[in-house]
Every structure is written in structure tokens, then in C-alpha cells.
């Protein structure tokens, strides 16, 4: 199993103020640079960063290509993942995405992972005029054509349903051939299966359990073998799962340092992705974090454990059946990859046994402290990463090679 870090660049407002402090945005950007530099020096495999727009407090990562460009010059080996780029053309013209991905691939000496998706928040869809019912079709058309732009000289042009352009040579071309590994955001099981058929890595935002993952991994690789209909010119068979992450010398201290990071992550995600609520967000005025604290004060203990943008009744009840609600519920729970070296080893071994390719840690979230995140990265890098890396090379690669036997389509994957 490989490991990475995941960034939304969360920035809760101070609870007692209506706006952030003047230095707050500069601070979190530079903290991320430091964290990723440290992770790179310790041998972490990936960093993935989102692209989101207008989602105040939840994500201040609207220009990830710039962060990735900065990281390309401050790191040596860690792979730079877009997790993900919004490809419906109203967000970003497909040719601009192809240009940026290729330029970053050159700057980083071939370390780019190209994740794509659509987003589902009304703030973003409405802000850029993306029709909700068409976003998936837009994503597919644009993503397919971006891979054509990166591999064709010249690009023959395209008359599509959602964008058109004449013949042009889209330059530069990426260093990785035919193009960087492709990923797609997948918060539902069925999207993971779509990813398999399209030959894309599945960036699992569903906080899947080891048991769920076991079934999914086998089915995912079967579909790659038997039902492949690639969207690009090379496939990236890969399953990644997100997990909240914080380490310390005792489980209790790790929980304390985890603070309300996971609960706020889940709460603010649920806030913006619920069209009835997030669609009415008053830009520049509302304090989501204060709202979160006020609500959690009603159910403080349960919020800490299970929380999220769920009603007190839902929090008291069992895990929701709906997959999106389930993801929020699980994201909010403080106890996934939070604890001591021994606690994490036990948790992560369960994922390893189920053949997970990559575990992506959400460390930066809510009001967690930079120094605690740095300490966690260091602890993990020194005490757990080496043994998992060794087994990845000696065992997982063999298992994966077996799974991919008979696949006769080009593969470009960093797993």
C-alpha cells in the first residue's frame, strides 16, 4: 500500500469574528508547502489537492495548479496529484487543462497524477453556469478530449455537445507518455465501477471500510480485465481511499489533537453539498465554523464522534444507508487513522489485507494545528511508512500484476 496526503485547504473563520485574520490564507498555503516538503523527504508517495471554488472555510484551494507548480520546485519524489481538476468546460476550457497538466508534468519531471471530476455544490455549479443534470456528460466529453489533446500532433479539433474548437497543436506535451495517470473522484460504489470500466484510478471519497474495500478491489480489477472501455490512451488501474489522520504518543492525545477537524470537514462538506442549504449560502457573510460550533454544542459528544451535517436524530441513529450520507458520517468519526503507531498499524493492515493500492490521509482540516500535522507526518514517515513500502514492493505488486494479467491496453500508473 502506498500513502499520500490530501488537501482541501480548509480555513474555518475565527468563531468570534465575521472574517478571517489578514494573514490566515497566506499561513495555510505556506503550511501546506512545509507539510508536503516534509512528507516528500520521508518518502510519502502522493499529495492530492482539490479544486474548489467559492466554498468559504471548507476549501480555499481554487488554483491547485499553482500550489502544484510551487511544490514541483520544492520536492523531489512525491507525486503531485490533482484530486481533482474540474473538467466541465465552464470551469476550465479543456485545452487550458491539457496545457497546465502538461506544463506541470514537465516542471515536475513527470510526477503528475491527473484526477478529474465535476463537483456537486450549488455554489460552484451556479457560479460557473454548469447545469447539474449535464455535469457528468460534460466531464466525460472534456476529459476524453483532454487526453486526445495531450497525445495528438496536431489535435484535430472537436465539435462536441459542450465545447468545440478548431485544429490546433496543444502544447506543451506531457513528459509522461502517453499522458499522466488518470483518476476520477468516486464517492459511490457505482462510480468506482465506472472508473474501472473507463480505465481510471478511483479516488475514493467514500471513506470505505476494509470489508467494503475487499469486495470493491476484486470487482474493480475484474472489470479492468473484462469490461475495459478506456477513456484515455493509457489506463491507471488503482484504488485509493481517504482516511482522516492524526498521530501522537497516546490515542487520547491523538484524539485531542485531531480536535474537531474531521467533524468540521464533514459538517462543512455536508453544508455546501446539500443544495437546500449550501445553495443559499450568503457569500462573504456567513460563518460556517460558528454555525458548526453552535450546533455541536447541542450534541457535543456525539458530534465529536460521529458529527457532520446530520441532524441530532441522524447522529443518534445507525450508519445511514445512502452512500453520500454514509461518507459524511464516516468522515466525521474521529477514529479512522487517528492514534498511536500501534493503533494505526492495526487499522492500516486491515486495508493492506484487502489489497488497497493507496491510502490518502486527510490531515489538514478544521482547526487542527500545523505543528501537530507536521509531527504526525514525521511519526508516520519514520515508524510506519517503511514497513508498508517494503510489503508494497514485495507482495502487493505481485498481487496487482496477477490481477492485470491479460490486459492488453497500455498502462501508465505509479502504483
Amino acid at each position: 500500500m502506498k500513502f499520500g496526503l490530501f488537501y482541501e485547504l480548509q480555513l474555518p473563520k475565527p468563531a468570534d469574528k465575521d472574517q478571517w485574520n489578514p494573514d490566515d490564507e497566506r499561513r495555510i498555503y505556506h503550511e501546506m508547502l512545509e507539510q508536503v516538503e516534509l512528507a516528500d523527504s520521508l518518502g510519502f508517495d502522493y499529495v492530492f489537492e482539490v479544486e474548489h471554488h467559492f466554498l468559504e472555510e471548507y476549501s480555499h484551494s481554487s488554483a491547485p495548479e499553482l500550489m502544484m507548480a510551487a511544490l514541483s520546485q520544492r520536492t523531489k519524489n512525491i507525486r503531485l496529484g490533482h484530486g481533482i481538476v474540474l473538467t466541465p468546460p465552464n470551469y476550465n476550457h479543456p485545452a487550458r487543462i491539457a496545457e497546465r497538466i502538461s506544463a506541470l508534468d514537465i516542471l515536475s519531471n513527470g510526477r503528475v497524477e491527473f484526477g478529474s471530476g465535476e463537483s456537486a455544490s450549488e455554489m460552484e455549479l451556479g457560479g460557473f453556469g454548469v447545469e447539474r443534470g449535464l455535469k457528468k456528460a460534460m466531464w466525460e466529453e472534456a476529459t476524453r478530449e483532454i487526453t486526445n489533446m495531450m497525445t495528438s500532433t496536431p489535435y484535430a479539433g472537436f465539435q462536441g455537445e459542450f465545447f468545440s474548437m478548431p485544429t490546433r497543436n496543444v502544447i506543451p506535451k506531457p513528459l509522461q507518455q502517453p499522458h499522466p495517470p488518470l483518476w476520477v473522484a468516486a464517492s459511490r460504489r457505482e462510480t468506482t465501477m465506472v472508473a474501472a470500466r473507463l480505465g481510471m484510478g478511483s479516488l475514493g471519497f467514500g471513506f470505505e471500510t476494509p470489508d467494503e474495500l475487499g469486495e470493491r478491489a476484486l470487482e474493480y480489477y475484474r472489470l479492468v480485465r473484462e469490461e475495459l472501455m478506456p477513456i484515455g490512451h493509457a489506463i491507471n488501474p488503482a484504488l485509493a481511499v481517504l482516511n482522516t489522520f492524526m498521530m501522537a504518543d497516546s490515542d487520547e492525545e491523538a484524539m485531542r489533537r485531531s480536535a474537531n477537524g474531521p467533524a468540521f470537514f464533514s459538517y462543512s462538506l455536508g453544508y455546501y453539498y446539500n443544495p437546500a442549504v449550501g445553495g443559499k449560502h450568503p457569500p462573504g457573510e456567513f460563518n460556517v465554523y460558528r454555525d458548526f460550533l453552535n450546533r455541536s454544542s447541542e450534541t457535543a459528544q456525539m458530534q465529536q464522534q460521529r458529527g457532520g451535517f446530520l441532524s441530532p436524530e441522524e447522529i443518534r441513529s445507525e450508519e445511514p444507508a445512502d452512500e453520500v450520507q454514509k461518507a459524511l458520517y464516516r468522515a466525521a468519526r474521529s477514529g479512522n487513522a487517528i492514534g498511536t503507531v500501534e493503533t494505526l498499524r492495526k487499522t492500516l493492515l486491515k486495508y493492506e489485507e484487502q489489497h488497497l493500492d493507496t491510502m490518502i490521509f486527510v490531515a489538514q482540516c478544521g482547526d487542527r494545528k500545523h505543528e501537530h500535522i507536521m509531527e504526525s507526518i514525521e511519526t508516520f514517515g519514520k515508524h510506519l511508512l517503511p514497513e508498508f513500502k517494503e510489503r508494497h514492493e514485495s507482495e502487493h505488486r505481485k498481487w496487482r500484476a496477477e490481477q492485470l494479467k491479460g490486459v492488453d491496453f497500455p498502462i501508465n500508473s505509479s502504483i
Binding site: 443534470g133 449535464l134 457528468k136 456528460a137 455537445e161 470500466r197 473507463l198 470487482e219 472501455m229 445511514p320
Partner: protein, 114 residues
Amino acid sequence: MPTPKDINDPTLREKVETAFAEMRAGKGTDAVRTLADSFLYLLELKPALLQEKIAMRNREIPRVMRWPALGANIKLDSVIAGKPEIEFIRERFSVSEAMTYYQFVLDEALEKNA
């Protein structure tokens, strides 16, 4: 490992296999129409499905409303009336949208042993 071969009913199996072939050929629109037809046929085969409910945000909704709303949308009032209809609010569908419907129909058919 669910595949269309595991579907018992020959008509439903043929419909789902046809949809798969249409996806393979890059015909997303044709596949979505075939899958909508397949799902309505499944509901004829297993009418009890219409009565099943699932929990969603602290309330119950008919299970069949989990059918993906990607432009070929199942009408709630038709489900309540016991005569399910799928309304096409768009004419063209992508392959990935077809794949989403395909996975849904396959999973439902096999779970209900159709």
C-alpha cells in the same frame, strides 16, 4: 462477481447484454434507453420492489428512487401510483452515464434474484 450471465430471466438478461454491447460501441444514448427499458421490465418482474422503502436524510423514500437522476429520471408520482415511468429530460447521454445506469440495473437485478 456480478455479470449479466447471472440474471435468470432470459428477456432481462438479453436487454442488459444489449445495453453492454451498446456501451462498448460508444452508444451511450442507446444504452441508457435500453437500461431504462430494462429497469421498467425488472419492476414488472419484481413488483414488490415498488413497495420497498429506504432511509434518506431521516425520512423514507421508495427504494426505486435510487435510480440515478442523470437525465432519464424516474417519476415519483408514477412510482407512488404503482405505474413507474422514466422521463427523458435530455436526448443525448454519455457512455459514463450509461455505465452508471448499467451498474444500477445489474446490482438491482442480481440482488432481487431476477
